[in-house]
């Protein structure tokens, strides 16, 4: 199923591309100054996507929280405070304590580290795999594509649960293995998306142009194809992050997931959280909020980025055929 090439006429391009300004020689510089596209993107995000910027701020907060966890946390996240179990939130323990008399606030703060590591790690790995497979499969096509795609088919038709449990069972517990499991369960779908993005630009004239000037294949892949599928990759990554955090929680619910005592939000929520839910609601409220904040943040950021990175909005690859 090939999408019909959209021959966009100039006025629609102009309409869709508010960036398009004839770069006239007028030195007055009425046109806003342009920075590197990333900075530009950031400015646009703040200016035009309040919801996305809010998501970005949430993400940033969480990231900072993760980085500065030891400074922010009021207690050692694994220390058990005598018999003070299930103490409600208060001045000693901001978010109360859990059933093992550990400070929930500190655990949530440190949990940002664990959960974001899992999220970033899983997404990083899955996106890496997906990119390699998607780009190779899409760009070279032919037999390689057929073989890779059949394998992707097979992997995609496995229930995700099987993949994750299998990996967890083979490799045993551990954060690294959770990451691997999540990545393996998730990369196939992303590789499809990236492949189709590559297919869309593979025949664009600038790739042909690169060939015509005599670029080698690796150079074409790295300099021309990759940067132009960066947008879907970035979006996949932000959306995937939220999903990875949720998936880790679900894995924890089934007993897999990041092994304790590491304070993963998912484990906090699904393990003793659900057990003690009725006696200590804070045990599920705070980790739940943390997860939701992360997923919400990453998704909103991803959405906003998708809008901003739409090539027709920023004047990127126009001939997306």
């Amino acid at each position: 199923m090939k999408k019909q090439p959209h021959k966009r006429t100039r006025d629609t391009i102009a309409a869709l591309k508010p960036h398009y300004l004839p770069a006239s020689a007028d030195a007055g510089g009425a046109a806003p100054h342009r920075y590197h596209w990333l900075i530009d993107l950031f400015i646009q995000l703040v200016k035009t996507k309040p919801l996305g910027a809010f998501g970005g701020a949430l993400v940033l907060t969480l990231v900072l929280m993760a980085l500065a966890a030891p400074l922010i946390a009021t207690h050692d996240p694994n220390e058990m405070h005598g018999m003070q179990t299930l103490v409600p939130p208060g001045s000693d323990f901001f978010f109360g304590t859990d059933a093992l008399a550990r400070d929930l606030f500190s655990r949530i703060v440190h949990g940002a580290r664990v959960s974001l590591t899992v999220g970033l790690g899983a997404v990083g790995l899955s996106i890496f795999l997906a990119t390699v497979i998607g780009v190779l499969s899409g760009y070279f096509g032919g037999v390689l594509d057929t073989i890779l795609q059949r394998c992707v088919d097979a992997i995609m038709s496995f229930p995700w649960l099987i993949i994750m449990l299998t990996v967890m069972s083979i490799l045993g517990p551990g954060t690294g293995n959770v990451i691997l499991a999540l990545a393996l369960a998730g990369f196939a779908g992303s590789s499809r998306v990236i492949r189709s993005a590559v297919l869309a630009i593979k025949h664009s004239e600038y790739v042909l142009a690169a060939r015509s000037i005599g670029c080698r294949q690796p150079a074409i892949l790295i300099r021309h194809i990759l940067p132009n599928v960066a947008a879907p990759i970035l979006v996949l990554a932000t959306l995937g992050l939220g999903n990875a955090i949720l998936a880790e929680a679900a894995l924890s619910f089934l007993g897999y997931g990041v092994p304790p005592p590491a304070p993963s939000w998912g484990r906090m929520l699904s393990g003793d959280g659900l057990d003690h839910m009725l006696r200590g609601p804070w045990l599920v409220i705070f980790p739940g909020l943390a997860i939701s904040a992360a997923v919400f943040g990453f998704n909103m950021l991803g959405d906003a980025l998708r809008d901003l990175l739409d090539p027709r909005l920023t004047g990127g690859a126009r001939a997306n055929k």
Binding site: N78, T85, L100, G172, P173, G255, P260, P261, G271, L278
Partner: protein, 499 residues
């Protein structure tokens, strides 16, 4: 003490039931069904210490080695094919006991074969209602084993027709299996021809397979279950939501045990630092069992002293408890040459009832300088490694049946006999072997207690706690007795008041 009433279907829940063959399964879910569909020769007395007649109208011990059982007359199997309500005979008893001992079929399939295998000299059936069993040596636990729910009496035709009993529970019991849908439910209906006159009271029992604890609680609160087993977390809610709930708090028999590496002399000698008894003792002293129980299970349970849990007979009292003394533990460690402690890996499986105490142990041992690295394996993997005896330390759930020796032989007995753990202390082996044949209860009790003290001193395993179980039921459910704590469903003693 109201008059029992007839009628009603008792609705309860269970975790998945893998098989209905009482001789091949150890899981309590199986006996939950078979205890209602089958009878044994004997059964336990309500206080679980003695035995009572069941299919055997009476029994008598002729000498140290010989037992004679007289069967009730006119006991009929369920009126379903292939038995079609034929009468029970001594041959069925003989067949069943032989089957338990692994003589009909592949020996390894029969998980309680150790009850009788190699221990029985002969089974004779002089007439249709008499069974005479001779043991090879005096066998102290013999009657207990005969009364065990795993020693259910089955019919030979059933086994022959279906190959095994995995899906067919046909016996002489008060209820007939009507439907068994794996993973979904088990339906039992009243056996109108039950040999105990007037019983059962219930029209049927419906066992719903449920795995999620909060679903169970909700279903109970919403009135879709008449009885349930729940964890302590939910008790306040249940009491508040359904104030008239009858709650029975029963002492559990699953024992949380911290294991040091097994010791198989010659094959797998003890490695440092665990080769030093001081180290093992230090670990024992570093653990505050009461606090552990408090944190891990809200204090709803019993801290344990020795290998035989307090719920069973011949267990040790708190006087023999190893005191919590971190200072002494440190001193012992120093004495053993580890003044700065050491680090070790603690293996257990990845469900929260194990990971919670594991985390607490980790913290407690840290205080005396022992760094614990948790290794939380998937269930199958854990058992795989545990039974290759390939671990440094393990947090384990010990469970056993009906006699104190079942807590000793498979753990500290001779290497060939000890299946769950290995400990090459010949002194213990000898004592454990001796207690099997002491027919005098008092004498046997003394020896068993001594064995336990010896185990505590050796400290290969640390006995942490058992959890209490909360069996709840609706106020109209009258329940006279429980079997073992986990096999709480003896349908024939239950009746429900009509509302």
């Amino acid at each position: 003490a109201a008059e029992p009433q007839y009628g009603g279907t008792y609705r309860i829940h269970s975790t998945p039931i893998r098989s209905l063959d009482p001789h091949m399964e150890t899981a309590s879910q199986t006996t939950m069904v078979t205890v209602n569909t089958n009878n044994g020769l004997l059964c336990f007395s309500p206080d679980m210490t003695g035995v009572e007649p069941d299919l055997a109208e009476s029994w008598r011990q002729i000498d140290d080695l010989t037992y004679e059982f007289k069967l009730h007359k006119g006991v009929r199997f369920h009126d379903v094919p292939p038995v079609n309500g034929r009468e029970l005979t001594a041959a069925d008893v003989k067949y069943s006991i032989e089957r338990i001992a692994g003589m009909h079929g592949r020996a390894s399939d029969f998980k309680h074969s150790y009850y009788f295998e190699g221990k029985i000299d002969s089974i004779e059936t002089p007439d249709d209602h008499t069974v005479i069993i001779k043991t090879k040596k005096p066998y102290a636990a013999f009657l207990k084993y005969i009364a065990s729910p795993w020693s259910a009496i089955v019919a030979k035709e059933v086994v022959e027709q279906f190959g095994d009993l995995k899906r067919h529970a046909i016996g002489t019991g008060p209820f007939i299996l009507k439907e068994y849908v794996m993973g979904s439910h088990v339906t039992l209906v009243k056996n109108p021809d039950y040999f105990k006159a007037g019983k059962p009271y219930l029209d049927g029992i419906h066992i719903r397979i449920m795995t999620d604890p909060s679903s169970v609680v909700s279903a109970f609160i919403a009135g879709r279950l008449d009885g349930a087993q729940v964890t302590y977390h939910f008790m306040p809610t249940i009491k508040k939501q359904v104030p008239d709930t009858i709650v029975e708090q029963l002492e559990g028999t699953y024992m949380w045990t911290l294991r040091c590496p097994p010791w198989i002399e010659g094959v797998k000698p003890l490695q440092p630092p665990f080769d030093k008894p001081e180290v093992r003792q230090a670990i024992a002293m570093a653990i505050d069992k009461q606090r552990l129980l408090e944190l891990a299970w809200g204090g709803f349970g019993k801290t344990q002293v020795g290998p035989v849990p307090s719920a069973a007979i011949y267990s040790l009292s708190q006087e023999d408890q190893v005191p919590y003394d971190p200072e002494k533990a440190k001193a012992l460690l120093a004495q053993a040459g580890y003044p700065d402690g050491f680090s070790a890996e603690l293996m257990t499986w990845n469900l929260s009832y194990m990971t919670q105490p594991a985390q607490i142990l980790q913290q407690m041992l840290k205080e005396v300088g022992i760094e614990i690295k948790l290794n939380l394996l998937e269930f199958a993997q854990y058992f795989n490694r545990a039974y290759r005896f390939d671990y440094e330390m393990a947090l384990h759930l010990m469970t056993a049946g009906v006699d104190p020796e079942e807590w000793l032989i498979p753990y500290y007995g001779k290497v060939e006999e000890a299946t769950y753990y290995k400990w090459s202390n010949p002194e213990l082996w000898d004592m454990i072997d001796r207690q099997q044949h002491i027919m005098d209860p008092a004498q046997r009790e003394t020896l068993i207690k001594e064995i336990q003290r010896k185990v505590i001193a050796d400290a290969p395993n640390l006995f942490l706690y058992t959890q209490d179980r909360f069996l709840i039921r609706k106020p109209n459910v009258h329940l006279k007795r429980y079997l073992l704590d986990v096999q709480g469903l003896m349908g024939e003693y239950i009746w429900m008041a009509q509302q």
